[in-house]
């Protein structure tokens, strides 16, 4: 499907914003402003944006620990996200979740998850709500190649097929589960095919190509919305960074990392494509680049200025009702 000019500008803006967000989080982690464990998704922007642009607020999205890109693409407020990463009271989760548990239920973003594969059955449950209530939304579960080997994910795939639920299992195969290669850990070396063997339509796409992922997700979302049941999409991309910020990446060669940045950068690939095909003008893209820098600068400033949670917040939000 041909995307409109507005859609392409939006896609570029989102991808650039995610890239800036991740680069800045890296710096602020090193500066000591972002506590805890942080997992960055730079290199994977196209998949997050292609997914988010196919969804509305009535659709649900469950994401992994590497979820900043998906959060931004699903419409989460960027200042509130950065504040959450800083552990501040005005963050999306009041500073109680952090990077690994960031959520915005009002946007249908059901939360990042610190348990690999943990989101799969939760996404199936969200799809059950949609189907039981006769709504027309879909539920998307974003996972990594690491999650593809979890037994729980296999159970979720089967459940989705048995109950014929509007759920999309999106595997982002970014090359490594922590520090172990996909080629070693995935026995069949074919995530989409193995998942599809549970009885779902499945497709594998080049995750560095925004347009390819967008088309695959569009088809899967349409299938879900129209009562066609669950789908599998495997998007093959490559993370630029380590498993976590601070990972010395001893399992990667300098040549490979350089090659990835040069030839597998979805933002660069998108830009080249739209310029060569005269779909967008360079000046517009340059302007978006500047805006993205400003957006993230503002987010970091807002996070630095925000207050930490009051000590009384330690014991709130455990239950809805106390007795």
């Amino acid at each position: 499907m041909q995307l409109s000019r507005e859609d392409m500008l939006r896609a570029y803006r989102l991808m650039r914003t995610i890239r800036e967000f991740e680069e800045r989080v890296f710096v602020e982690f090193e500066n000591g402003n972002v506590p805890g464990f942080v997992h960055l998704c730079y290199g994977q922007e196209a998949t997050a944006v292609a997914t988010g642009m196919n969804l509305t607020d009535r659709d649900k999205l469950s994401i992994t620990h590497r979820g900043h890109g998906h959060s931004i693409a699903k419409g989460c407020d960027i200042n509130s996200m950065m504040q959450e990463l800083y552990g501040k009271s005005t963050g999306l989760c009041g500073g109680k979740g952090g990077s690994m548990h960031i959520a915005d239920l009002s946007r249908g973003m059901l939360g990042a998850n610190g348990i690999v594969g943990g989101t799969a059955p939760l996404a199936v449950g969200a799809a059950l709500t949609i189907k039981t209530r006769g709504e027309d939304g879909v539920s998307v579960c974003s996972m990594g190649d690491g999650a593809s080997n979890q037994g729980l994910v296999f159970e979720a795939l089967n459940m989705a097929v048995v109950l014929q639920l509007p759920v999309i299992f999106l595997y982002e195969n970014n090359g490594w589960g922590e520090g172990t290669s996909h080629d070693y850990a995935v026995g069949s070396k074919d995530i989409a095919g193995r998942a599809g063997a549970f009885g779902l339509p499945h497709v594998k796409v080049d995750g560095t190509d925004f347009f390819a992922v967008h088309e695959a997700m569009r088809e899967a979302v349409e299938r879900g919305r129209s009562g066609g049941g669950p789908s599998v999409v495997e998007s093959v991309n490559r993370r630029f960074g380590g498993h976590f910020v601070g990972d010395p990446m001893l399992y990667r060669t300098p040549d490979e990392r350089e090659h990835t940045r040069e030839f597998m950068d979805p933002v660069k690939i998108f830009r080249k494509k739209v310029l060569e095909s005269n779909l967008l003008e360079e000046a517009q893209l340059d302007e978006i680049d500047k805006e993205a820098v400003k957006t993230i600068e503002d987010a970091a400033d807002s996070a630095a200025a925000a207050a930490f949670p009051d000590p009384k917040e330690l014991e709130t939000d455990v239950y809805v009702s106390y007795y």
Binding site: K96, H101, A103, G111, A120, P121, L122, G151, L152
Partner: protein
């Protein structure tokens, strides 16, 4: 007042709530049974393995009474995800032992959504499971694991000891906006008692003082509350006046009622069917030692299962379970 079984009381509670709220669903293995089968009575072939959800599929259909594959983690995760997005699932997990298969979905996911997401989430989930020994069902179908759930912040844990409480607590569990682990003692399903036809609620965190007494306080859970009552009958004939407290929920726990009772009696026996370490018996003994030490006239006693798996052989299982005799012995010990 009509007389009903523990099983019927739970069924009636779920039925009331399904009729009242379209968002209430029942999900699990064989909650109806017969899905995809051709037998003449395939529809509702089971109604739950012990018949607790019998008849619901006929009233509410397979859209809301959902048979699943045998896939505990996915059942729990699906129920948790459905609860997070607006349904009120009652997930049947059969034996509490099977929750070991899906603990991640309980303690890392459902229990933590609200806190992790800064108070924005509601997870109105009821997890039903059978506890308890006495069926010669051996080590993987007989456990009494409520302490494992009680120690997880974010979960509520309910263990009714009679049909009246079972109905009122189940209705509260379904209406509650937090995840509730609802533990039914499998040896009590046929126990009968007076249960009103209309819906009613028993609030969580309110212990039942099932017998007033002056000499000793016994705190006992689920089926052990019945055994404590029998022990109290015997002891009354010997002139020992026992107060029996059934907390009904271990989380939240009605600490005040226990402390007030000990303040009056000065003696405490805690009876629990689970093994002793990190148990409710240990927990309550510690709470009383910390907050009512000066009211105590002597050491606290606990009556629990031993620190072993549940044995199969009847001769072993009978001595595994806390018995009426063991409770009587413990009371006499603290009276010395």
């Amino acid at each position: 007042m009509p007389t009903k079984s523990y099983r019927e009381a739970i069924n009636e509670a779920i039925d009331h709530e399904m009729a009242r709220d379209e968002n209430v669903i029942v999900i699990g293995e064989d909650v109806s049974g017969g899905a995809g089968c051709e037998g003449p009575d395939a529809e509702d072939a089971y109604g739950g393995v012990l018949g607790v959800t019998k008849g619901l599929v006929g009233k509410y259909g397979r859209r809301r009474v959902i048979d699943t594959p045998i896939t505990e983690s996915a059942i729990m995760g699906t129920a948790a995800g459905a609860a997070l997005t607006g349904l009120r699932p009652v997930a049947e997990m059969m034996f509490v032992d099977f929750l070991g298969v899906c603990f991640d979905m309980i303690y890392n996911q459902a229990a933590k959504f609200r806190y992790m997401f800064g108070g924005t989430a509601r997870t109105p989930l009821v997890v039903r499971a059978m506890i308890g020994g006495g069926f010669r069902a051996a080590a993987q179908h007989s456990q009494t694991l409520h302490p494992m759930f009680t120690m997880v912040p974010g979960l509520k844990v309910v263990m009714p000891s009679n049909p009246y409480d079972a109905k009122g607590l189940m209705i509260q569990a379904i209406r509650d906006d937090d995840p509730v682990i609802f533990l039914e003692h499998k040896a009590m399903y046929d126990m009968t008692g007076e249960v009103p036809d209309e819906p009613y609620i028993i609030p969580f965190g309110e212990a039942a003082v099932t017998r007033d007494g002056d000499d000793v306080t016994i705190v006992a859970f689920s089926m052990m509350a019945k055994r404590a009552a029998k022990a109290a009958d015997v002891l009354a004939k010997e002139g020992i006046s026992v107060e029996v407290i059934d907390p009904r929920t271990t989380s939240p726990l009605d600490v005040d009622t226990i402390l007030e009772s000990v303040e009056k009696t000065g003696r405490l026996v805690v009876v629990d069917e689970s093994p002793p370490r990190c148990s409710m018996a240990a927990d309550i003994a510690a709470l009383v030692a910390e907050h009512a030490f000066h009211d105590l006239k002597g050491p606290i006693a606990t009556v629990t299962a031993p620190h072993t798996p549940v044995p199969f052989s009847p001769s072993l299982e009978d001595i595994y379970m806390p018995s009426v005799d063991k409770i009587i012995t413990a009371v006499k010990k603290v009276m010395k």
